[in-house]
Subunit: 393 residues, 2 copies
């Protein structure tokens, strides 16, 4: 009888990327008052967050994920074995994934003002025992960066290996690099812009007006009336979706397809694109808080690091930054087009900063930053592999 053949292991076995599994959100409570850019002060607040992977001994492998308009702390994994869909960036973050939780300690949080557990307009105001509603202050990207820095302090992290974000998340990364240049070694700014254009603001204002003029809005205090401004939030989300997708991708997926194959000559759902948008609008209106939506769009509109710093140009503002940058844009993104990312890149190069830039050819418009694309993911993977094991500066 032959002995079983010996197996020589030549190199590391690459396991298939998998999930971080079941994760449990945690809550950090902050009792020291926070004065916001608006001048308003929050005496205390909570931030809900999740972590994946293990913080190493010298605390040099932490990665912060900043979320976009409708995102939250549930970035990867599942809240239970029965949850059908994983966190919103599960394709990017996990064991063996581009942001590899076997190398990095990854933190996702729900931003202040959110509606998924962090203190926001729908939270109970301890002074009144009622939801904050309209009394919750407008927060800015700078305020978020400050609260994220406090959370890092709480977790004992002085310097992040990287801070990563797409869209509004990318704006937070930019703001971090200016406000706390020594607290991040790498900045991954994806599908972002250095500030909104008039057209961007216009779309946001239409969305806000739909919510603000919904009779169920009640000046922001709809909680007390047992209603939500569902119609307005639905319109806002439908409109948002149009700007997240490219014209071509929408054409390819839906074209002029009719649900019943013929014109109905009425106002019921008829084209497939209508069905898709209304479904997205309905789903969102059932799960998201309208006041948070207002607040997030306002943070987007206000974001302009040059404005806040009293500088005249983005290049002058970025003079403060010390991080190395990976900037990524997507060819069919018309919300924050590649030209907007190139503005960021130029401002970094003007300051002799270390910057890699890639414009990914992708069909799906702004939403491409959330999708699994080999070119895009391999790029992030290669970048993150290269910075693995770096020590704190």
């Amino acid at each position: 009888m032959q002995p079983p053949p010996k197996i020589a292991i030549i190199g590391p076995i690459m396991s298939k990327p998998t999930t971080v599994g079941v994760v449990t959100p945690q809550t950090a409570r902050f009792e020291s008052p926070l004065t916001l850019k608006s001048g308003a002060t929050l005496p205390s607040y909570e931030l809900v967050y999740e972590t994946y992977g293990t913080l190493n001994a010298d605390k040099s492998n932490a990665v912060l994920i900043c979320h976009a308009l409708s995102g939250n702390h549930h970035v990867a994994g599942y809240h239970s074995e029965h949850e059908k869909r994983p966190g919103w960036w599960d394709n990017m973050i996990g064991p063996g994934k581009p942001i590899d939780t076997e190398r990095f300690f990854v933190i996702g949080l729900n931003n202040l003002g959110g509606c998924h557990g962090s203190t926001g307009p729908s939270s109970i105001n301890p002074h009144t025992g009622k939801p904050f509603g309209a009394s919750f202050p407008v927060v800015s990207v700078e305020d978020w960066v400050e609260t994220q820095a406090r959370l890092a302090d709480r977790l004992g992290i002085h310097q992040f290996a990287a801070i990563v974000g797409g869209s509004l998340g990318g704006m937070q990364v930019l703001q971090w690099s200016v406000n706390h240049p020594d607290r991040l070694r790498h900045a991954l700014v994806i599908a972002a812009a250095p500030k909104l254009t008039a057209q961007n603001i216009a779309f946001n204002d239409v969305a806000r007006q739909a919510i603000l003029t919904d009779p169920d809005f009640h000046g922001g205090d709809y909680y007390a009336h047992g209603v939500v401004p569902r119609r307005g939030l639905r319109i806002a989300r439908m409109l948002g979706h149009i700007t997240y997708l490219s014209d071509d991708a929408m054409g390819e997926k839906f074209g002029r397809m009719l649900r019943s194959g013929a014109y109905n000559f009425g106002y019921e759902v008829e084209f497939e694109i209508e069905s898709y948008l209304r479904y997205q609008g309905d789903k969102f209106a059932d799960s998201f808080d309208a006041n948070t939506y207002l607040l997030m769009t306002k943070a987007l509109d206000y974001f302009d690091p040059s404005h806040h710093h009293g500088h005249s140009t983005l290049s002058e503002t970025m003079r403060a930054a010390r991080a190395r940058f990976l900037v990524i844009s997507f060819s069919t993104d018309w919300r924050f087009s590649p030209a907007r990312s190139r503005e960021i890149v130029k401002s970094l190069l003007d300051n002799n900063l270390d910057v890699s830039y890639a414009e990914i050819t992708a069909a799906h418009g702004h939403d491409a930053f959330l999708m699994e694309d080999p070119h895009y993911h391999n790029l992030v993977r290669a970048y993150m592999e290269r910075i693995t094991g770096e020590k704190a500066a």
Copy 2:
């Protein structure tokens, strides 16, 4: 004493372009039933129209103007000496203007379903004594062409020298060229598309949903409730305006300018672009009928001459056309981009039709078709001068 010098007149004196002056709308009543594409029948209806210039003896100099989404019969001139703004295309039509009313007999009408005098949802249904409201049938571009043809019959015009329209108006011109090839010698199709894309339909559906879900809509019968779905119509118009303007033009005109120079950290009007859009929305909501808006956007969505004719390609559909074409697009129009006009041009060339095509470099996006641009206006002027005096075929 010297005699006054003699003045030799070398050529015709070109008078400065001027206005057609005060015009009075007329109404044509049609008592023969009209069966619409939807299958619904209108037993009778009225069309309001204006004419400028003089119909010549052989009735060969008539030009029909087809209006777009929010247009009407008041194309040129003033309704009284006190009216501040002239008709919507006064810069194009009048004595000495590109469509010269000293050469042509120009007709503008309010389309069936409109809200400016032609029979539409806000008209009184003679059978009930109440406004049609939700019972007014959805009309299509083909239906409009039929009613326009009946108006031409009434005026004794068998063949138009030209039919001219921008945007949805251009779609009516295309439909005319297919449905009544012998009734127009020239087709001027400006800033149009052969059919809407999924993105175009998506924007229309968001606008419609804003109106349909406004609590004041009352299923379309808001007239009886003494209200109008003002909020919804306002949102629809604000959104529309974003798609009419180019990103660049909006940026140049409004940029990130703030009304008060500083952030307010609230939801009152703040950026200049917000002020502009809300003003446009308010003005429109005060003057336009929501049911007509719904109906016009549906006509846009349905427009697809190939679909209606059971043909598989636009080229096959345009085989029926006999007119000569001038097709014009504008470089920054992202609602109906130059690529959409080139689709039209290709289908005409595939049929060996006579077609001139110009892509005008213009900053103002889709709205450019309504603006006074020397290159654009000189092109239309030259085309119209060339066809002056042609006899009916």
